[in-house]
């Protein structure tokens, strides 16, 4: 966008599964501290798009550059450590671990001590663990999960599991946060609450966010800029106002009822 170097620069990316082009020649630039929405009908390639950024799917054409690093040849764990974190459409917490342990994992994905030290149970191991637990508690209290810290994560209510996933994503100290349908299955009140939460963490943690969501009000309320994908192709791009009045978007996704408003 306007000549600045973008935080995330996706250049003519294509992802083909055999003959099916899930993402077709899409170029997107996202600047630091933007809150960007990604909408589109089911099967438009939104999640595939995320998967390519996080390194789960490698693009068949084009490039992805994040913060000066070329991501196309990198593994997911390397990409995570460069500062990209995500939540999943279908919740993927560590179900049998405690809520606290769920949040400490990203902090010690590469432990600061050797495995020999771990085996001998040296004092620096426990010291390090106390340290990470203290930091994890901060994330938990920030997301209102402190009371559940010792609960088995899989036994939490659905909404809390979603929050836990966000807490875990934040614990990886990301620069860019990818949210894949965080409001799925939530009612209006819960949506509003989540929107408040996302706005708060976006400010407090100085994040850049890409949000995939079907609750259109939710996206319009939160995002500075919205991309619309349809059948793997970029249909439109613009501010919430521009998107709402774009006739092509309305036809493909929003439905004509909205034009009467």
């Amino acid at each position: 966008m306007d000549g600045k170097t973008a935080l995330l620069d996706i250049d003519h990316m294509t992802i083909a599964f055999g003959g099916l082009k899930a993402v077709n020649d899409v170029s997107i630039q996202i600047n630091k501290s933007e809150f960007v929405g990604l909408i589109g009908p089911n099967g438009a390639g939104k999640t595939t798009f995320f998967n390519s950024i996080t390194g789960n799917v490698s693009p068949t054409g084009g490039g992805i550059v994040f913060d000066g690093h070329n991501l196309t040849k990198k593994r997911p764990d390397q990409i995570s450590r460069l500062g990209i974190s995500r939540t999943f459409q279908n919740i993927r917490i560590f179900p049998k671990m405690s809520v606290l342990d769920n949040v400490t994992i990203p902090m010690h994905s590469e432990p600061a001590y050797s495995m020999w030290a771990a085996m001998l149970g040296l004092s620096k191991v426990t010291r390090q663990q106390k340290e990470t637990e203290k930091r994890a508690l901060e994330f938990l209290s920030d997301l209102g999960l402190e009371a559940y810290k010792d609960r088995e994560a899989g036994t939490l209510a659905y909404g809390l599991q979603r929050r836990l996933e966000i807490a875990r994503a934040l614990a990886a100290s990301p620069k860019l946060l990818l949210l894949d349908e965080p409001a799925a299955g939530m009612n209006n009140d819960e949506c509003n609450e989540l929107a408040e939460l996302l706005r708060r963490i976006y400010k407090n943690y100085d994040l850049t966010v890409i949000l995939i969501e079907h609750h259109i009000e939710f996206v319009l309320k939160l995002c500075d800029r919205i991309y619309v994908l349809n059948l793997g192709q970029l249909l439109a791009e613009g501010t919430p106002e521009e998107i709402q009045s774009d006739p092509e978007v309305v036809r493909a996704y929003l439905g004509s009822r909205r034009t009467k408003q």
Partner: protein, 298 residues
């Protein structure tokens, strides 16, 4: 007495191998139907090092462990890098233990072919074996409780998410495989220097099943559970010896019942805790104090 001692040694040796397998299968979620292959490699390596190259006994056992580690890398790196997991990796290990057995059976010069090697001096004493077992289990407990162990659990429970928060699944799995191979190798070495002989059948498929059974029965994500199960699996056949062939039926029945009523194993996701002893003690003490007060008043 010798009989009791030999059972203790068997329990300890199984305990070492099972604690290694518990890290690999119970915590990291990689099934290994051929873990006895590492015991065979470690056992044979230790004997050859001792007999043919004159390496001192304990050093030979430890080196046997490291040779098992090298074999595990040769085997595990290509398999795990290509994302073989679950049953597929289990089959790789089944193939491995079979290959080891058949290969050893056909190498006559140093390894003695199908007859194996006899006349090995009994150098592992009961106390030494117990000491080594305690040390190795203690190290495993520390490892599992550390961040390394937590990363293993994360990979087991939700690999894609673990990867997405920076855990390298290949490295985590390979590390678990290497450590468990080391434990298997050392267990094999210690056993051989107690049994005084080794043959291709010492550590074949049946032994692998015993090890895996201990981990599955004892419980996933638990160390004390599998250790206890290992003990039971060694001692139970001895106790049931009078039942002759029928003991296998009881054995099988016990398996079915446990899998039916406790699919996560006896101690799945928990450890055997002795905290209740402390609680009971305090309760009794409080009870006695109460009574004393009452009688004092009366």
């Amino acid at each position: 007495m010798l009989y009791i001692f030999s059972i203790i040694v068997f329990v300890c040796v199984h305990g070492i191998a099972v604690s290694g397998l518990s890290l690999l299968t119970g915590y990291t979620g990689i099934f290994s139907i051929g873990h006895a292959g590492f015991m065979a490699v470690g056992g044979y390596a230790a004997v050859v090092l001792y007999k043919n190259l004159g390496v001192p006994f304990l050093l030979a056992v430890v080196l046997g462990g490291f040779i098992a580690v090298i074999v595990s890398v040769i085997l595990g790196y290509p398999a795990l890098r290509n994302k073989l997991e679950g049953d597929a990796f289990g089959i790789v290990m089944l193939g491995f233990v079979t290959v080891v057995r058949v290969a050893i059976s056909n190498i006559k010069p140093v390894l003695g072919g199908a007859i194996g090697i006899t006349g090995i001096p009994r150098l592992s004493s009961v106390w030494l074996v117990i000491l080594i077992t305690v040390i190795m289990v203690y190290c495993m407990r520390n490892f599992i409780k550390s961040d390394y162990g937590k990363n293993c659990m994360a990979v087991q429970q939700q690999e894609s998410a673990a990867e997405m928060v920076g855990v390298n699944p290949l490295r985590t799995k390979l590390r678990a495989l290497m450590i468990s191979a080391f434990y298997g190798g050392v267990a094999g070495g210690l056993f051989v220097f107690y049994a005084t002989f080794i043959s291709p059948m010492s550590f074949a498929e049946a032994k692998s099943n015993d090890l895996l059974a201990a981990v599955v029965l004892g419980g996933m994500c638990s160390l004390s559970g599998p250790l206890m199960a290992a003990g039971i699996l060694v001692i139970l056949p001895e106790i049931l010896r009078f039942l002759a062939v029928w003991r296998l039926v009881f054995y099988g029945l016990a398996f079915i019942l446990i899998m039916l009523f406790r699919p996560d194993g006896l101690f799945g996701y928990r450890e055997i805790s002795f905290k209740w002893v402390g609680r009971l003690y305090h309760k009794i003490k409080a009870g006695i104090g109460e009574r004393q007060k009452r009688t004092g008043r009366g």
